[in-house]
Symmetry: C2
Subunit: 367 residues, 2 copies
C-alpha cells in the first residue's frame, strides 16, 4: 500500500466478517429459494411497525433524531433503566464497533469463544486488539470458567459472550452469567450480546442492573422484531460509559424509518411474542426432523437450530448439497463446531420446503 | 473516568457535532413550523424511489446487500468508474468516519477550513488527529492557496474541502481544485466533499479520475435525492483505497430500503434534476428577499442561502427571533463567518412562510 495509512490498518490482514446471500447469489448466478442462513426473522415485522414505517416513508428527506428519544424513552421504561443508560446504533454491529473502539488500544487483549461472532472479531482486529480464543465446551456451551480464567491470565480488557449464543444456540442462565462476572478479573468488562434475548425465558436472563460497571448488554430489533434490514440495535451500560460512546458514535447514523418502526414495534409487544412462539414451534419441527433423519441437533434458545454432522468435511458437503438446491444456510468457521449446519427457523411453508430438501440432501449425503 | 478506556478517548474532550432539530424541539417544548436548518431536501424523494421503498418495506427483515451492488453498479456506469472505485456507507458521515480512521494516527495533522463541516472535525478528534484550521477568504470562498500552504507547512496527511461548500454555499470550479491538487504536498490526500455536487454546473466539476491517488470524492443521496433519513452516501477513490476501507467499514450498516430507494432514484434522474431546478428558483427568491430587506446573501451553489448580518451577535439575535417564530435554521459556529444565518431552500409554500416571518424578524431586529 502506497498511501499513508494509519498504523493499525497497515498492520492488519484483510478480513470480511460475512459473505452475504446476495453476494453468493451473484456468484451462483441464481437466486436462493430459501434464505435460512443469516438468522433473519422471515416472520417479518409487526404490522403496526410496518404501518408506522409506511406513514413516515415520505418524510425520509429528514435526518433521524440524533438522540433516538422515541426509542430510548420506551426502552428505558420497559427495561427499568434510565435514558442515560442506553445507546442506539446501526444494529448491534454498529454499537459493537463503538464499544471496541472506546476500549481498545493496539495490543490490548480481548477474550471470546472460538467460533463466536465474526463481526466482533472484525472490530477487534480493526482497532488493533489481540484476540484470545477459548474453545466451547464439549456440549457446545460457552465455557465460563475457561473464559474467566483466560481473561485473568491475559489481563483482558474485554470479554465477549453471546447469550443465547450464536452460532450454537445454547443458553446460560443468570446464575452462570453471575458466576462469570464474579470470576472475571478487575477491570475486565463483559460485553454480553443478547441479540436473541427475546427467545430465552425472561426469568432466566440476568437481572437488569445498568450501572454495573462490569457489564454492557446488547440488544437488537433485527431478530424477534424482524427489522434486520433497518439496522437498529442498542446497548445498555453505565451512564458514564454511554457518555463515552456518545463521543464516538455516528450521531445521525440510524435511519429515520428505523426509529419510527422500532418505536412502534415496542408499542406492540404481542407481535414479537407471537414470533417467539412461532419460532419455538419451528424449532420443535426442526428437532423432530433431526430425530427422523438421525441428525442430532443442539438445544437452541434462538431463531435457529444447529444440525450436527460427523465433521467439518461432512457439513461442508451438506452445505454444498443445500446450495445446489437453492437453500442458503451457514456453518461455524472453526473446528470443532464447524461440524454443525446452522439453519434459521423460517415460516411454516419455508420449514416444509426446507424439510423436503433436507431429507433429500441427507439421502444423497449417505449415498 | 474509571473504566479502562482507549488512550484516544481518554485524551479527548467531549464534542457533539450537531444538535438536531428534534432535540431543540424537546428543549423548546414546541415543534418547529419550518425546518430549514439542516439542508434537508424538503422536496422529498423521487416518487419512483418512494414506490420502490414501499414495495420493499415488508422485506425489512432481510439484511442489506453488504456489497451494495445495485447502487454501486449504477454509480459506476453513471460516473464512468469501476465498481472497485466506490465505497457506500451510512451517509457521507459514515464514509468520512472510515476514511479518517484509515489514515489517522494520533497526532497526525489534518487541514480544513475554519468553520467547515463539524462532523468531519468530530471524526478527526475522535481518532486523535490534530486539526489545523485555515480561515475562509474575505469573499467566503475556501482559500485554496492557504490550505495547500498549511498542508505543506504541517506535513498534513489529509486536507478536507467541501465543494460546493457548506456552510458558505460558495463553489470553486475544476481549475481551482486542480490547482489545489498541484499545490498540495506529496502524500497529502484531498477529501473532496461533494454532497452538493448536483447543484453545481456539471461541466465545472473536476473531471472524474477515480485512480488519482491524491483524491477521494464524496457524494450523497441526502441532498438532491431527498433521502437524508435513509443514510446512504458514497466515496469515489482509487481501488487500492476502497480495498482498505472495506477492511474497516461496517459491512451491513446501510439499510435495505436505503439501497432500494437509492438505486431507484438513480434510475429516475429527472427527479433530482427537477429538485435542482426548483432549488435554483428558490435561491433566487431568497436572494430577492435579501435585496428587498437590505440583507446581503452569498452566491450559493447548494440548497441553502447564507444571509449576512453585521456580526455574530446580530445573527444570534436573528436566530432567536426565528426560533421564537418556530423556524429552525442554523449558523456557522466560528468568527468571522458566524455573522451569516444559513437558510435551507424549502418548498414554495415554505419559502413564502419563511419570507413573511423573516420580514417581520428583520423589522424587530432593526427596532
Amino acid at each position: 500500500m502506497t498511501a499513508r495509512y494509519a498504523d493499525t490498518l497497515r498492520n492488519m490482514r484483510a478480513m470480511t466478517p460475512f459473505i452475504g446471500p446476495e453476494t453468493l447469489e451473484r456468484r451462483r448466478g441464481r437466486r436462493f429459494r430459501y434464505r435460512l442462513g443469516a438468522n433473519e426473522s422471515n416472520f417479518g415485522m409487526s404490522p403496526k411497525a410496518l404501518a408506522a414505517l409506511e406513514a413516515e416513508a415520505e418524510r425520509s428527506y429528514w435526518y433521524c433524531d440524533s438522540e433516538h428519544w422515541e426509542v430510548r424513552s420506551r426502552l428505558a421504561a420497559l427495561l427499568g433503566v434510565k435514558l442515560e443508560n442506553i445507546v442506539v446504533g446501526e444494529g448491534i454491529d454498529g454499537v459493537l464497533g463503538v464499544i471496541v473502539r472506546a476500549f481498545t488500544d493496539p495490543g490490548d487483549v480481548i477474550v471470546t469463544s472460538h467460533g463466536a461472532y465474526p463481526t466482533f472479531n472484525y472490530h477487534v482486529l480493526g482497532y488493533g486488539g489481540r484476540l484470545e480464543f477459548v474453545p466451547y465446551r464439549r456440549d457446545c456451551r460457552n465455557d465460563v470458567e475457561a473464559l474467566a480464567e483466560r481473561a485473568r491470565a491475559t489481563g483482558a480488557k474485554l470479554l465477549y459472550l453471546a447469550n443465547p449464543d450464536n452460532p450454537t444456540g445454547t443458553f446460560l442462565g443468570h446464575d452462570a452469567i453471575g458466576h462469570l462476572l464474579e470470576r472475571m478479573p478487575d477491570g475486565c468488562l463483559l460485553i454480553l450480546d443478547e441479540a436473541y434475548a427475546e427467545f430465552a425465558p425472561a426469568s432466566d436472563l440476568p437481572p437488569m442492573d445498568a450501572e454495573d460497571p462490569r457489564l454492557i448488554r446488547l440488544r437488537t430489533f433485527s431478530k424477534a422484531h424482524g427489522m434486520a434490514g433497518l439496522r437498529i440495535g442498542y446497548g445498555i451500560a453505565p451512564a458514564e460509559m454511554i457518555d463515552a460512546f456518545n463521543r464516538l458514535r455516528l450521531h445521525f447514523g440510524v435511519g429515520r424509518l428505523s426509529q419510527v418502526a422500532a418505536a412502534a414495534s415496542l408499542d406492540d409487544p404481542e407481535f414479537a411474542a407471537s414470533v417467539v412462539a412461532d419460532v419455538a414451534h419451528g424449532r420443535a419441527e426442526y428437532e423432530a426432523l433431526g430425530v427422523e433423519l438421525g441428525i442430532p441437533t443442539l438445544p437452541s434458545m434462538t431463531n435457529f437450530v444447529p444440525f450436527e454432522f460427523r465433521d467439518g468435511a461432512e457439513s461442508d458437503r451438506m452445505l454444498a448439497l443445500l446450495d445446489e438446491r437453492d437453500v442458503f444456510v451457514r456453518k461455524p468457521g472453526v473446528t470443532p463446531i464447524d461440524r454443525f449446519v446452522r439453519v434459521t427457523v423460517g415460516t411454516a411453508s419455508e420449514r416444509a420446503g426446507f424439510a423436503e430438501i433436507f431429507r433429500d440432501s441427507v439421502g444423497v449425503l449417505r449415498g
